[in-house]
Amino acid sequence: MLQNEQEYIRILTDRLSGMLPKEDLEDILSDYREHFRIGKAEGRAEDELFRSLGSPDDVAKEIRATHLVKKAEETRSCRNIVHAVVATLGLGLFNLVFVLVPFIILIVLLLVVFLVGIAFSVFGPVAFVFAFLQMLGFSSFAIWLSPAAGIFISIGLTAVGLLLVIGDLYLARFFYHQGIRYLKWNIHLITGAVCER
């Protein structure tokens, strides 16, 4: 049970220390101090203010998730998006279904497309060499029904492989952008907080 405003601020500080830059943390804490000051000036009891704000643990989770999503938006990286997703998961158990599952599906999809692209990009040139050797009469390298067709099809396979790899990069960027939007919407839905769009 919280005793007073100082304890509330102390818990909040404790949960967010090392998570946010000092200036940002100070800004947030001063906002909450201001909230308490205005509330008290209006004659509201501390208990009532605690209830209206929510527990400092929940508030810290929400701030942390919002901060990490914003950070992932500003600096695009795998690490940042993973941190943002993990922080969002902490906001509610049901996010295991609504955030974690789609996130894993997208990761697997991107990975599969990337691996298929790499496989085609590697197999294409190898198959080209096999077709060439088959054309020269080395029967041990015979994998194509027709080596001349194999030459062209292997070139096509290489091109498709490179397209898949390049396409995967664009797809990853698209999903990253949409993922950030989804996480923001998710945080907004759960906390009711006003998020930047």
Binding site: S146, A148, F152, I153, I166, G167
Partner: protein, 281 residues
């Protein structure tokens, strides 16, 4: 000109190289799409033209050979009362091994190893008067060399030694190993496009015969019996000829004790690129 200007020019030049001016991701993608479409169209077009994708083939949707070495298929050609044989073996790409010895009343036996059922060779045989004519043809050999469907087969062929035989062996690309053994040859033709060829006539005890051997690219080894009255004329392209033990007679290699007055086994050899080894056994 200020001292900074050359530096600026260098920077622009370096920038141009690094960004490969004129090449942007969209252009690269469009090129890759175009290359993929054109390549697939040509590749599958070749397959369609060569008949691989026609209905009835065992793998109509794949450009790859799908089956591994299938169970060897043995082909038996009976003599049907013939007193002579005319055998042609024509292979596009693969290996041919030829030996003597068949069961009684058999002119020829062939064990065909093929990577796909449709690459089984075409066989035709006919009995005309007292001569049985047999032609074993690789399907790939019937089309244009590189655009046709190749059948990288391996054939083990055995020929009878009971009747005289005219033997014609053609291998487009691949190795050919022939052990005439006790085959009763009337005439022998061996033509090899690319690949090593070995013809062993060392155990030959049949009647007089003539032979024409042509090798395009690859080494050629010819083993001739010491006891035979044999003359070998050689037209060598690029490569060396070794004929240890033979005597040169009017530009031809002859066996010891060669007598032109007696029946002569005439062997004409044309070698393109590769060494020619003539051995006496």
């Amino acid at each position: 000109m200020t001292p900074d200007q050359p530096e600026e020019e260098k920077k622009y030049c370096l920038h141009g190289i690094l960004t490969l001016s004129g090449i942007n991701p969209t252009r690269v993608i469009l090129w890759l799409v175009a290359i993929a479409i054109v390549s697939f169209a040509i590749g599958f077009g070749i397959l369609a033209v060569s008949g691989v994708f026609s209905p009835g083939t065992s793998h109509p949707n794949s450009p790859f050979i799908q089956t591994a070495w299938v169970t060897p298929n043995t082909i038996d050609i009976p003599l049907d009362g013939a007193v002579s044989g005319n055998i042609s073996v024509i292979m596009g790409a693969g290996k041919v091994a030829l030996d003597s010895g068949t069961p009684e009343n058999m002119l020829m036996e062939a064990t065909v190893f093929s990577k796909a059922p449709e690459w089984q060779p075409t066989l035709s045989s006919a009995l005309e008067d007292t001569t049985k004519t047999v032609t074993l043809t690789d399907k790939g050999h019937t089309g244009k060399a590189w655009f046709a469907v190749h059948s990288p087969n391996s054939w083990d062929i055995r020929v009878t030694d009971r009747v005289p035989v005219v033997l014609n062996v053609k291998v487009g690309a691949g190795d050919c190993k022939m052990n005439a053994g006790s085959i009763n040859l009337t005439y022998l033709t061996v033509h090899s496009g690319a690949g090593d060829t070995e013809i062993d006539l060392g155990r030959y005890h049949g009647g007089r015969f003539d032979a024409a051997i042509t090798s395009g690219i690859g080494d050629l080894t010819l083993k001739v019996p010491r006891s035979g009255n044999t003359r070998i004329t050689v037209h060598q392209g690029v490569g060396e000829t070794s004929g240890f033990g033979f005597t040169l007679n009017n530009g031809a290699y002859v066996t010891p004790g060669f007598d032109p007055a007696l029946p002569v086994n005439e062997i004409a050899v044309k070698q393109g690129v590769g060494s020619f080894i003539l051995e006496m056994v």
